[in-house]
């Protein structure tokens, strides 16, 4: 018998072996200290002061030869607007600042480690399904305050500061506890989308009252069209935006403000309850339960096939479906009809908000340059280029007025004009992702799984109260 069949371990070899294992473990352990706990924090307030000389062409005082790194989310909007419009515009003023452009599909996977390591890109487009929690970023002090940017003069709209050129409410949308941190650049209006052709062919008109609305849904149903539907599998967000739009119309825009601020009873009030009841009925009578298992792409394609009448979405829809929309489909936006005759807001009132987050890393190498880059995005040329390339409006007011870009965009613009000052939006979905998730599930239950308005509001109130009580979640208010 040889030794491998009768193993013996004497103390000496055992100790030797232990030492060897110990040696192996050492580099791993020392490395740890260099990780999370040990990041450097030495460049704190330098970020808020101009690094170069302030001048008329350099109002933010960037250091003219400092390189700049930007990271753009590569999704629906593409990245062409950055590479073809904004970077050239920036480099025209600052030819010696080399711009490094990167794009990513998974923002958090790519960028988060770099924040922890202390070398984030200078300007980041935080978007997509893997976006980072913007609130947590602000809380961690990683986001540059944008006050100086908004006070700086516009690049190409003479005589105005950047702030003056924006649609009202833009800055507030990116404000966290009183300070502007994030630029929400794309502007979207939200409502019910339908095919102008389908309506014209059937002689249907846009309803404004709830009874007209349900009558229209009935006519569609009679024609064998699913009158209304949203994709339960991944887009209940669209449905709850619709529901909360109704709630805001019934009870006024403060309903949404109270929800954002986690006020007591913000969900259990009559306006939310009425809206929930109204939409639950639509879901039960005029939709198709099978949609609970579908994804947004599938429902949208069905609408393009004239199989679905009305679909809740934002103004990105037309561009998203561009490839599959049949000739003459004619995307049109309809504001949500009034649920009661005593609604506080008129039927033209709209959910409209700036979205698509862009922010500057305060602990990056060139925060001033990042802000300067945003100034170029907010120029008129930048806005026009963006809208042309992405079919999406920007927060630069009236930048594309008079330009014929597409039917849906025009329709959305018109609705926005009709709404006037009666536009509103909510913020809780980005502030408290947990509440957003709960609302998605609750909405699916309400619309497609036989839920009731009472159960819905109770459930949401409970979730909101839980968030409010949770000390680990930073609270925001507006």
């Amino acid at each position: 018998m040889t030794e491998i069949f009768k193993p013996e371990v004497d103390r000496r070899t055992l100790l030797r072996r232990a030492a060897a294992v110990g040696l192996l473990a050492t580099p791993a352990v020392t490395m740890l200290s260099a990780c999370v706990g040990g990041g450097s924090d030495d460049k704190d307030d330098a970020a808020d002061k101009p690094a170069g000389t302030v001048s008329a062409t350099n109002p933010l005082g960037i250091k003219e030869d400092e390189p700049l790194e930007i990271l753009i989310f590569n999704g629906g909007l593409g990245t062409k607007y950055a590479t073809d419009v904004d970077i050239p515009s920036y480099n025209k003023l600052f030819p010696n600042s080399k711009v490094t452009f990167n794009q990513a599909e998974e923002i958090s996977t790519v960028v988060q480690p770099r924040f922890t390591a202390g070398n984030p890109p200078d300007m980041i487009n935080n978007s997509g399904s893997k976006l980072m929690d913007q609130g947590a970023l602000v809380q961690a002090g990683q986001v540059q305050e944008l006050t100086d940017l908004y006070a700086a003069p516009s690049v190409d709209i003479t005589g105005k500061t950047v702030k003056d050129t924006l649609i009202p409410g833009t800055i507030e949308q990116g404000t966290f506890n009183g300070k502007p941190y994030v630029l929400n650049y794309a502007f979207t209006v939200f409502g019910l989308w339908y095919s102008g052709k389908l309506f014209k062919d059937n002689g249907w008109t846009v309803p404004t009252t709830w009874s007209d609305f349900t009558a229209l849904l009935g006519k569609m149903k009679a024609k064998g069209i699913t009158p209304f539907g949203y994709a339960g599998a991944n887009a209940p967000y669209y449905m709850y935006t619709l529901l909360l739009t109704s709630a805001a119309k019934i009870g006024g825009a403060d309903i949404l403000k109270n929800i954002d601020n986690l006020e007591d009873g913000a969900w259990t009030n009559d306006a939310v309850k009425q809206a929930a009841a109204a939409w639950a009925e639509v879901g039960a009578k005029y939709s198709n339960k099978a949609f609970l298992g579908l994804k947004h792409t599938e429902v949208q394609l069905q609408q393009n096939q004239y199989k679905v009448g009305l679909y809740p979405s934002g103004s990105w829809l037309e561009n998203e479906q561009a490839k599959d929309t049949p000739e003459g489909f004619d995307y049109q936006l309809m504001p949500v009809p009034s649920v009661t005759t005593a609604d506080k807001l008129p039927v033209t009132a709209l959910y409209a908000a700036a979205g698509e987050q862009y922010f500057v890393a305060s602990k990056g190498k060139n925060p001033r340059g990042g802000m300067e880059f945003l100034r170029h995005m907010l120029s008129k040329a930048g806005a026009v280029g963006f809208t042309q390339l992405t079919k999406t409006l920007t927060v630069v007011a009236g930048a594309t007025d008079g330009m014929e870009i597409s039917a849906g965009l025009t329709s959305g613009n018109k609705a926005l004009g009709a709404a006037g000052a009666d536009t509103f939006s909510f913020r809780f979905d980005t502030w408290y992702k947990k509440l957003d998730d709960e609302l998605r599930a609750a909405t699916n239950e309400l619309i497609y799984q036989g839920g009731t308005a009472d159960k819905f509001v109770e459930r949401m109130q409970k979730a909101a109260d839980a968030v409010k009580k949770d000390s680990s979640i930073q609270k925001f208010s507006r």
């Binding site: 072996r17 339960g232 947990k434």
Partner: protein, 303 residues
């Protein structure tokens, strides 16, 4: 020989353990560390909060729901997969008739052997996309398209609270079977033919051959398969993430720990809490593996 033993053992282990320690263990140790913090993922500073994350975890109803789902998967994923894989492997190896006195797999077994493995070749994300189509609730769905034609549909596979988890389980089984067919085939191949011969001389039928000869001799492989599938049952993240209604729905009916960890880490930026869940998941999995190996231990070859 004695002198060469430990240098040999250390020599063989040093590189794998070094690589593994540097890139896996070190990273995990750090994640363990984070479970005692309230780190939110973006700042280099962390503060330690002791066992707070764990206390919170045990009061989290979603967490318990996920645990329940794991228990169901833990029972049925290994069971269904192993039964199917054993069955197919047996057919492919000794299921055919005899020719020239040689036992073979059934006709076409070479072909099946290649085909059965296909699901293993697909990335999980792709499998999820494919099965979203298979299960789709309208006419375009592979199953519902057929059901609707005979007027029996639609069955809301992924949108029905009672069916959703089972539908996902079916996909997991679908993907796993091929691997174990190959694994068991390899195991069956290494069973000395003399044993079969002896059994056959005693007049054993295929059934008895399978239960009296194949199964006991494959015990070691089966045990490994069971443990590995059990570990896989603790995962299931990728499929649930892409396939389920509203990620883990409807209404939490399909959620698993992996998904909750992911959600907490990336959606809620609660890395500390997510890491705590990861630690619990880790110990659950390890306990399961150790228990299974202990309970099912037979005279494994110990040198």
């Amino acid at each position: 020989m004695k002198h060469g033993r430990y240098p040999f053992i250390i020599g063989f282990l040093i590189v794998p353990v070094a690589i593994y320690g540097t890139f896996v263990i070190a990273a995990y140790v750090q994640a363990f560390q984070l479970s005692f913090t309230n780190w939110r993922g973006f700042s280099p500073d962390v503060s330690y909060i002791g066992f707070d994350n764990f206390t919170k975890l045990f009061q989290d109803s979603t967490f318990w729901k996920a645990i329940q789902h794991h228990i169901l998967l833990l029972i049925f994923l290994p069971l269904l997969t192993i039964v199917l894989a054993l069955f197919f492997a047996f057919l492919l190896n000794v299921g055919g008739g005899s020719k020239g006195g040689r036992t073979r797999g059934v006709w076409g077994s070479k072909f099946y052997r290649v085909v059965f493995f296909f699901p293993q070749l697909l990335a999980l994300a792709l499998v999820a996309v494919i099965f979203s189509r298979v299960y789709s609730s309208d006419d375009s769905g592979l199953i519902n398209g057929l059901l609707n034609q005979v007027g029996a549909g639609p069955v809301l596979f992924l949108a029905d609270k009672n069916l959703a988890l089972w539908s996902i389980l079916a996909v997991l089984v679908w993907q796993a079977v091929g691997f174990y067919v190959v694994l068991f085939s390899a195991g069956m191949g290494s069973i000395p033919t003399e044993i079969y011969e002896a059994a056959a001389l005693d007049g054993a039928t295929r059934g008895t051959l399978f239960f009296k000869v194949t199964l006991p001799l494959l015990w070691n492989t089966l045990q490994v398969a069971w443990v590995y599938l059990g570990i896989a049952a603790f995962d299931a993240f990728a499929l649930v993430n892409v396939m389920s209604v509203d990620r883990g729905g409807p209404d939490g009916a399909t959620t698993v720990l992996g998904l909750e960890i992911y959600r907490n880490a990336f959606d809620y930026a609660q890395f500390g809490y997510a890491s705590a869940m990861g630690v619990v998941l880790f110990f659950l999995t390890i306990t399961f593996a150790a228990l299974t190996l202990r309970v099912t231990r037979r005279d494994a070859i110990e040198l």
